[in-house]
Protein backbone atom coordinates (compact mmCIF):
# COMPACT_ATOMS: atom_id res chain seq x y z
CA UNK A 1 0.00 0.00 0.00
CA UNK A 2 2.80 2.38 0.93
CA UNK A 3 4.63 1.45 -2.24
CA UNK A 4 1.52 2.18 -4.30
CA UNK A 5 1.10 5.57 -2.64
CA UNK A 6 4.75 6.41 -3.27
CA UNK A 7 4.33 5.40 -6.90
CA UNK A 8 1.27 7.63 -7.18
CA UNK A 9 3.21 10.57 -5.76
CA UNK A 10 6.05 9.88 -8.20
CA UNK A 11 3.61 9.86 -11.14
CA UNK A 12 2.06 13.10 -9.94
CA UNK A 13 5.53 14.60 -9.63
CA UNK A 14 6.39 13.50 -13.15
CA UNK A 15 3.20 15.17 -14.37
CA UNK A 16 4.14 18.48 -12.76
CA UNK A 17 7.52 18.29 -14.52
CA UNK A 18 5.98 17.28 -17.84
CA UNK A 19 8.03 18.50 -20.77
CA UNK A 20 6.29 19.31 -24.02
CA UNK A 21 8.27 18.66 -27.16
CA UNK A 22 6.20 20.59 -29.65
CA UNK A 23 7.20 20.73 -33.30
CA UNK A 24 6.45 23.23 -36.03
CA UNK A 25 6.65 22.18 -39.66
CA UNK A 26 5.53 23.07 -43.15
CA UNK A 27 3.49 21.46 -45.91
CA UNK A 28 5.78 20.13 -48.63
CA UNK A 29 4.98 21.74 -51.97
CA UNK A 30 7.05 21.42 -55.13
CA UNK A 31 7.18 25.19 -55.54
CA UNK A 32 8.69 25.50 -52.07
CA UNK A 33 11.18 22.63 -52.42
CA UNK A 34 14.37 24.66 -52.86
CA UNK A 35 13.40 27.08 -50.08
CA UNK A 36 12.49 24.27 -47.71
CA UNK A 37 15.71 22.37 -48.31
CA UNK A 38 17.73 25.52 -47.77
CA UNK A 39 16.05 26.21 -44.43
CA UNK A 40 15.70 22.79 -42.81
CA UNK A 41 17.26 24.14 -39.63
CA UNK A 42 14.06 26.13 -39.02
CA UNK A 43 11.62 23.37 -40.04
CA UNK A 44 11.01 20.54 -37.58
CA UNK A 45 9.09 18.34 -40.00
CA UNK A 46 7.35 18.24 -43.37
CA UNK A 47 3.82 17.19 -44.24
CA UNK A 48 3.55 15.49 -47.62
CA UNK A 49 0.28 14.97 -49.52
CA UNK A 50 0.14 11.17 -49.70
CA UNK A 51 -2.25 10.97 -52.65
CA UNK A 52 0.33 12.62 -54.92
CA UNK A 53 2.52 9.55 -54.47
CA UNK A 54 -0.03 6.75 -54.68
CA UNK A 55 0.53 6.22 -58.40
CA UNK A 56 3.91 7.93 -58.68
CA UNK A 57 6.86 6.34 -60.46
CA UNK A 58 9.37 4.53 -58.25
CA UNK A 59 11.89 7.33 -58.76
CA UNK A 60 9.54 9.81 -57.08
CA UNK A 61 8.84 7.53 -54.14
CA UNK A 62 12.61 7.03 -53.80
CA UNK A 63 13.00 10.81 -53.71
CA UNK A 64 10.35 11.01 -51.00
CA UNK A 65 12.14 8.32 -48.99
CA UNK A 66 15.38 10.28 -49.31
CA UNK A 67 13.59 13.38 -48.10
CA UNK A 68 12.17 11.41 -45.15
CA UNK A 69 15.69 10.28 -44.27
CA UNK A 70 16.73 13.93 -43.99
CA UNK A 71 13.80 15.42 -42.12
CA UNK A 72 10.83 13.90 -40.24
CA UNK A 73 7.85 13.45 -42.57
CA UNK A 74 4.15 12.95 -41.96
CA UNK A 75 1.79 11.73 -44.70
CA UNK A 76 -1.49 13.56 -45.23
CA UNK A 77 -4.26 11.90 -47.23
CA UNK A 78 -6.97 13.90 -48.99
CA UNK A 79 -9.01 11.42 -51.02
CA UNK A 80 -10.22 8.57 -48.85
CA UNK A 81 -13.50 10.02 -47.65
CA UNK A 82 -13.30 8.20 -44.33
CA UNK A 83 -16.15 10.10 -42.65
CA UNK A 84 -18.80 8.64 -44.89
CA UNK A 85 -21.64 6.22 -44.43
CA UNK A 86 -20.16 4.37 -47.42
CA UNK A 87 -17.16 2.05 -46.92
CA UNK A 88 -13.83 3.32 -48.20
CA UNK A 89 -12.39 1.20 -51.03
CA UNK A 90 -9.66 -1.31 -50.24
CA UNK A 91 -7.60 -0.03 -53.16
CA UNK A 92 -7.22 3.39 -51.53
CA UNK A 93 -6.31 1.84 -48.21
CA UNK A 94 -3.77 -0.46 -49.91
CA UNK A 95 -2.09 2.52 -51.56
CA UNK A 96 -1.75 4.34 -48.26
CA UNK A 97 -0.50 1.14 -46.59
CA UNK A 98 2.17 0.73 -49.26
CA UNK A 99 3.31 4.35 -48.97
CA UNK A 100 3.38 4.24 -45.17
CA UNK A 101 5.48 1.07 -45.35
CA UNK A 102 7.90 2.71 -47.79
CA UNK A 103 8.21 6.16 -46.19
CA UNK A 104 7.71 5.25 -42.51
CA UNK A 105 6.24 8.63 -41.55
CA UNK A 106 5.89 9.86 -37.99
CA UNK A 107 2.14 9.47 -38.53
CA UNK A 108 -0.45 9.58 -41.28
CA UNK A 109 -3.57 11.69 -41.32
CA UNK A 110 -6.84 12.09 -43.22
CA UNK A 111 -10.00 14.18 -43.11
CA UNK A 112 -13.38 13.94 -41.43
CA UNK A 113 -15.05 14.30 -44.80
CA UNK A 114 -16.75 12.50 -47.63
CA UNK A 115 -15.41 13.10 -51.12
CA UNK A 116 -17.68 11.06 -53.39
CA UNK A 117 -21.19 9.65 -53.55
CA UNK A 118 -23.10 7.48 -55.99
CA UNK A 119 -19.93 6.98 -58.03
CA UNK A 120 -19.34 10.71 -58.52
CA UNK A 121 -16.21 12.49 -57.28
CA UNK A 122 -16.78 15.86 -55.63
CA UNK A 123 -13.15 16.82 -56.17
CA UNK A 124 -12.70 18.16 -52.66
CA UNK A 125 -13.59 17.59 -49.02
CA UNK A 126 -17.30 17.80 -48.18
CA UNK A 127 -18.92 17.76 -44.76
CA UNK A 128 -21.30 14.81 -44.36
CA UNK A 129 -24.55 15.17 -42.43
CA UNK A 130 -23.66 15.01 -38.75
CA UNK A 131 -25.81 12.06 -37.81
CA UNK A 132 -25.38 8.68 -36.13
CA UNK A 133 -25.01 6.91 -39.51
CA UNK A 134 -21.98 8.93 -40.60
CA UNK A 135 -20.50 8.68 -37.11
CA UNK A 136 -20.80 4.89 -37.28
CA UNK A 137 -19.63 4.78 -40.89
CA UNK A 138 -16.54 6.81 -39.99
CA UNK A 139 -15.77 4.53 -37.05
CA UNK A 140 -16.03 1.46 -39.31
CA UNK A 141 -13.85 3.04 -42.00
CA UNK A 142 -11.26 4.09 -39.43
CA UNK A 143 -11.18 0.62 -37.93
CA UNK A 144 -10.61 -0.95 -41.37
CA UNK A 145 -7.99 1.66 -42.24
CA UNK A 146 -6.07 1.05 -39.02
CA UNK A 147 -6.19 -2.72 -39.51
CA UNK A 148 -5.01 -2.59 -43.11
CA UNK A 149 -2.43 0.18 -42.78
CA UNK A 150 -1.14 -0.89 -39.41
CA UNK A 151 -1.65 2.41 -37.58
CA UNK A 152 -4.54 4.73 -36.84
CA UNK A 153 -4.77 8.00 -38.74
CA UNK A 154 -4.94 11.34 -37.03
CA UNK A 155 -8.20 12.84 -38.26
CA UNK A 156 -8.67 16.44 -39.37
CA UNK A 157 -11.77 18.60 -39.00
CA UNK A 158 -12.69 20.31 -42.28
CA UNK A 159 -13.89 23.74 -43.33
CA UNK A 160 -17.28 23.92 -45.00
CA UNK A 161 -19.01 26.79 -46.79
CA UNK A 162 -22.35 25.03 -46.38
CA UNK A 163 -23.88 24.03 -43.10
CA UNK A 164 -24.22 20.29 -43.81
CA UNK A 165 -27.92 19.54 -44.32
CA UNK A 166 -29.61 16.81 -42.35
CA UNK A 167 -27.32 17.27 -39.35
CA UNK A 168 -28.68 16.60 -35.88
CA UNK A 169 -25.36 16.81 -34.01
CA UNK A 170 -23.20 19.87 -33.48
CA UNK A 171 -19.80 19.81 -35.19
CA UNK A 172 -18.00 19.41 -31.86
CA UNK A 173 -20.31 16.58 -30.72
CA UNK A 174 -19.94 14.75 -34.05
CA UNK A 175 -16.13 15.04 -34.03
CA UNK A 176 -15.95 14.02 -30.36
CA UNK A 177 -18.16 11.02 -31.07
CA UNK A 178 -15.94 9.80 -33.91
CA UNK A 179 -12.78 10.26 -31.85
CA UNK A 180 -14.32 8.35 -28.95
CA UNK A 181 -15.60 5.46 -31.05
CA UNK A 182 -12.43 5.12 -33.14
CA UNK A 183 -9.85 5.95 -30.47
CA UNK A 184 -8.20 8.23 -33.04
CA UNK A 185 -6.48 11.50 -32.31
CA UNK A 186 -7.42 14.85 -33.83
CA UNK A 187 -5.51 16.94 -36.33
CA UNK A 188 -7.12 20.20 -35.31
CA UNK A 189 -7.21 22.61 -38.23
CA UNK A 190 -7.54 25.97 -36.54
CA UNK A 191 -8.31 27.97 -39.67
CA UNK A 192 -11.13 25.52 -40.39
CA UNK A 193 -12.49 26.08 -36.88
CA UNK A 194 -12.15 29.84 -37.34
CA UNK A 195 -13.83 29.79 -40.77
CA UNK A 196 -16.68 27.50 -39.69
CA UNK A 197 -17.21 29.62 -36.60
CA UNK A 198 -17.54 32.78 -38.69
CA UNK A 199 -19.59 31.15 -41.44
CA UNK A 200 -21.96 29.17 -39.26
CA UNK A 201 -22.22 31.31 -36.17
CA UNK A 202 -20.32 29.68 -33.37
CA UNK A 203 -17.50 30.80 -31.10
CA UNK A 204 -14.23 29.09 -32.15
CA UNK A 205 -12.78 29.39 -28.64
CA UNK A 206 -15.85 27.70 -27.14
CA UNK A 207 -15.54 25.00 -29.83
CA UNK A 208 -12.01 24.19 -28.61
CA UNK A 209 -13.36 23.70 -25.10
CA UNK A 210 -16.03 21.29 -26.41
CA UNK A 211 -13.69 18.81 -28.06
CA UNK A 212 -11.58 16.39 -25.99
CA UNK A 213 -8.23 18.12 -25.40
CA UNK A 214 -6.56 14.77 -24.73
CA UNK A 215 -7.20 13.85 -28.39
CA UNK A 216 -5.47 16.90 -29.91
CA UNK A 217 -2.02 15.89 -31.09
CA UNK A 218 -1.53 17.77 -34.35
CA UNK A 219 -2.59 21.18 -35.62
CA UNK A 220 -2.91 22.88 -39.00
CA UNK A 221 -2.63 26.63 -39.40
CA UNK A 222 -3.40 28.44 -42.64
CA UNK A 223 -5.06 31.53 -44.10
CA UNK A 224 -8.01 32.21 -46.33
CA UNK A 225 -10.11 35.03 -47.76
CA UNK A 226 -13.62 36.37 -47.56
CA UNK A 227 -15.75 35.73 -50.61
CA UNK A 228 -19.10 37.23 -51.49
CA UNK A 229 -22.21 35.10 -51.33
CA UNK A 230 -25.01 35.40 -53.91
CA UNK A 231 -27.11 37.24 -51.30
CA UNK A 232 -24.38 39.85 -50.73
CA UNK A 233 -23.14 38.41 -47.45
CA UNK A 234 -19.59 37.15 -47.01
CA UNK A 235 -18.12 33.84 -45.95
CA UNK A 236 -14.53 32.89 -45.20
CA UNK A 237 -12.99 30.49 -47.72
CA UNK A 238 -10.18 28.29 -46.41
CA UNK A 239 -8.02 28.55 -49.54
CA UNK A 240 -4.52 28.27 -48.03
CA UNK A 241 -3.43 31.15 -50.26
CA UNK A 242 -3.04 33.77 -47.54
CA UNK A 243 -1.04 34.38 -44.40
CA UNK A 244 -2.27 33.00 -41.09
CA UNK A 245 -4.58 35.59 -39.49
CA UNK A 246 -4.18 36.76 -35.88
CA UNK A 247 -7.24 34.88 -34.50
CA UNK A 248 -5.73 31.56 -35.63
CA UNK A 249 -2.57 32.24 -33.61
CA UNK A 250 -4.82 33.06 -30.64
CA UNK A 251 -6.59 29.73 -31.10
CA UNK A 252 -3.19 28.02 -31.31
CA UNK A 253 -2.24 29.49 -27.96
CA UNK A 254 -5.51 28.23 -26.50
CA UNK A 255 -5.02 24.75 -27.99
CA UNK A 256 -1.53 24.61 -26.47
CA UNK A 257 -2.98 25.59 -23.12
CA UNK A 258 -5.61 22.83 -23.37
CA UNK A 259 -3.78 19.87 -24.89
CA UNK A 260 -1.80 17.55 -22.63
CA UNK A 261 0.03 16.10 -25.66
CA UNK A 262 3.16 17.15 -27.53
CA UNK A 263 1.81 19.03 -30.55
CA UNK A 264 2.86 18.86 -34.18
CA UNK A 265 1.91 22.12 -35.87
CA UNK A 266 1.95 22.36 -39.68
CA UNK A 267 1.72 25.58 -41.67
CA UNK A 268 -0.23 24.90 -44.87
CA UNK A 269 0.28 27.03 -47.96
CA UNK A 270 -1.01 25.92 -51.36
CA UNK A 271 -0.18 28.85 -53.64
CA UNK A 272 0.44 32.60 -53.97
CA UNK A 273 3.67 31.71 -52.23
CA UNK A 274 5.39 34.43 -50.23
CA UNK A 275 9.12 34.39 -49.49
CA UNK A 276 10.53 31.62 -47.32
CA UNK A 277 11.35 34.34 -44.80
CA UNK A 278 7.63 35.12 -44.54
CA UNK A 279 6.71 31.44 -44.07
CA UNK A 280 9.47 30.95 -41.50
CA UNK A 281 8.28 34.06 -39.64
CA UNK A 282 4.76 32.57 -39.41
CA UNK A 283 6.25 29.32 -38.11
CA UNK A 284 8.22 31.28 -35.52
CA UNK A 285 5.05 33.07 -34.53
CA UNK A 286 3.43 29.66 -34.08
CA UNK A 287 6.28 28.63 -31.76
CA UNK A 288 5.72 31.76 -29.70
CA UNK A 289 1.97 31.03 -29.49
CA UNK A 290 2.75 27.47 -28.35
CA UNK A 291 5.10 28.78 -25.67
CA UNK A 292 2.46 31.22 -24.41
CA UNK A 293 -0.16 28.48 -24.35
CA UNK A 294 2.09 26.02 -22.55
CA UNK A 295 2.93 28.69 -19.98
CA UNK A 296 -0.80 29.01 -19.23
CA UNK A 297 -0.93 25.35 -18.20
CA UNK A 298 -0.70 25.29 -14.40
CA UNK A 299 1.84 22.53 -13.93
CA UNK A 300 3.63 22.23 -17.21
CA UNK A 301 7.09 23.08 -18.39
CA UNK A 302 7.73 23.27 -22.11
CA UNK A 303 10.70 22.75 -24.34
CA UNK A 304 10.47 23.49 -28.04
CA UNK A 305 12.73 21.76 -30.51
Amino acid sequence: MVVAEEAAVAVAGAETMKTFVDKVGLGWRADLAAGILSHLDGIDLLEVIADDFFDAPRSEVRALKTLASQVPVVLHGVGMGLASAAPVGNQRLDKMARLVEQVRPQFWSEHLAFVRGGGIEIGHLAAPPRIADTLEGAAENLSRAAALIGSKPIMENIATLIDPPGSVLSESAWISGILASSDCHLLLDLHNVYANGLNHGYDPQAFLCQIPAKCISAIHIAGGKFISAPDGSQRLLDDHLHDVPDPVFELLEQAAALSPNPLTVILERDGAYPSMACLLAQMERARRALRRGRARRPVAREVLV
Binding site: R29, A30, S38, F53, G118
Partner: protein, 93 residues
Amino acid sequence: MSARAFEAFLTRIYVDAGARTRFAANPRDETRRAGLSDEECAALENIDWVGLEMAARSFARKRELQRKEQPRNSFKNNFENIFATISRRFRRH
Protein backbone atom coordinates in the same frame (compact mmCIF):
# COMPACT_ATOMS: atom_id res chain seq x y z
CA MET B 1 -32.37 7.49 -42.90
CA SER B 2 -30.29 6.09 -45.76
CA ALA B 3 -27.13 8.09 -45.27
CA ARG B 4 -25.48 6.69 -48.39
CA ALA B 5 -28.36 7.79 -50.63
CA PHE B 6 -28.34 11.14 -48.87
CA GLU B 7 -24.59 11.59 -49.51
CA ALA B 8 -25.11 10.56 -53.14
CA PHE B 9 -27.84 13.18 -53.54
CA LEU B 10 -25.64 15.85 -51.94
CA THR B 11 -22.81 14.89 -54.28
CA ARG B 12 -25.08 15.31 -57.30
CA ILE B 13 -26.26 18.78 -56.34
CA TYR B 14 -22.68 19.79 -55.44
CA VAL B 15 -21.19 18.83 -58.81
CA ASP B 16 -24.03 19.01 -61.34
CA ALA B 17 -25.40 22.51 -62.03
CA GLY B 18 -28.42 21.06 -63.84
CA ALA B 19 -29.31 18.82 -60.90
CA ARG B 20 -28.90 21.80 -58.60
CA THR B 21 -31.23 23.93 -60.70
CA ARG B 22 -33.88 21.20 -60.80
CA PHE B 23 -33.55 20.73 -57.05
CA ALA B 24 -33.87 24.47 -56.36
CA ALA B 25 -36.98 24.64 -58.58
CA ASN B 26 -38.72 21.72 -56.91
CA PRO B 27 -36.92 20.31 -53.86
CA ARG B 28 -39.62 17.88 -52.76
CA ASP B 29 -40.05 16.21 -56.16
CA GLU B 30 -36.31 15.89 -56.72
CA THR B 31 -35.57 14.42 -53.31
CA ARG B 32 -38.51 12.00 -53.58
CA ARG B 33 -37.33 10.95 -57.05
CA ALA B 34 -33.96 10.13 -55.44
CA GLY B 35 -35.75 7.77 -53.05
CA LEU B 36 -35.01 9.77 -49.90
CA SER B 37 -37.12 9.49 -46.79
CA ASP B 38 -39.57 12.15 -45.62
CA GLU B 39 -37.09 13.20 -42.96
CA GLU B 40 -34.31 13.56 -45.54
CA CYS B 41 -36.58 15.44 -47.95
CA ALA B 42 -37.49 17.88 -45.19
CA ALA B 43 -33.84 18.37 -44.27
CA LEU B 44 -32.96 19.18 -47.87
CA GLU B 45 -35.87 21.58 -48.28
CA ASN B 46 -34.30 23.57 -45.43
CA ILE B 47 -30.84 23.46 -46.95
CA ASP B 48 -28.47 26.41 -46.57
CA TRP B 49 -29.12 27.64 -50.14
CA VAL B 50 -26.44 30.34 -50.05
CA GLY B 51 -23.91 27.86 -48.73
CA LEU B 52 -24.93 25.32 -51.36
CA GLU B 53 -24.18 27.73 -54.20
CA MET B 54 -20.87 28.83 -52.66
CA ALA B 55 -19.76 25.27 -51.91
CA ALA B 56 -20.68 24.13 -55.43
CA ARG B 57 -18.61 26.96 -56.94
CA SER B 58 -15.70 26.16 -54.64
CA PHE B 59 -15.81 22.46 -55.54
CA ALA B 60 -15.96 23.33 -59.26
CA ARG B 61 -12.86 25.52 -58.89
CA LYS B 62 -11.03 22.71 -57.11
CA ARG B 63 -11.89 20.21 -59.86
CA GLU B 64 -10.75 22.71 -62.49
CA LEU B 65 -7.45 23.24 -60.65
CA GLN B 66 -6.93 19.49 -60.37
CA ARG B 67 -7.38 19.15 -64.11
CA LYS B 68 -4.75 21.84 -64.77
CA GLU B 69 -2.19 21.29 -62.05
CA GLN B 70 0.56 18.80 -61.36
CA PRO B 71 0.30 17.06 -58.01
CA ARG B 72 1.15 19.64 -55.39
CA ASN B 73 4.21 17.91 -54.04
CA SER B 74 5.47 16.14 -57.12
CA PHE B 75 9.23 15.87 -57.40
CA LYS B 76 8.95 15.67 -61.18
CA ASN B 77 9.90 19.24 -61.98
CA ASN B 78 12.34 19.67 -59.13
CA PHE B 79 14.07 16.32 -59.05
CA GLU B 80 17.60 17.39 -59.93
CA ASN B 81 17.53 20.54 -57.81
CA ILE B 82 16.21 18.64 -54.80
CA PHE B 83 18.86 15.96 -54.98
CA ALA B 84 21.61 18.48 -55.56
CA THR B 85 20.49 20.33 -52.42
CA ILE B 86 20.20 17.15 -50.35
CA SER B 87 23.59 15.94 -51.58
CA ARG B 88 25.15 19.25 -50.56
CA ARG B 89 23.69 18.78 -47.07
CA PHE B 90 25.13 15.25 -46.88
CA ARG B 91 28.55 16.56 -47.87
CA ARG B 92 28.39 19.25 -45.20
CA HIS B 93 27.77 16.76 -42.36
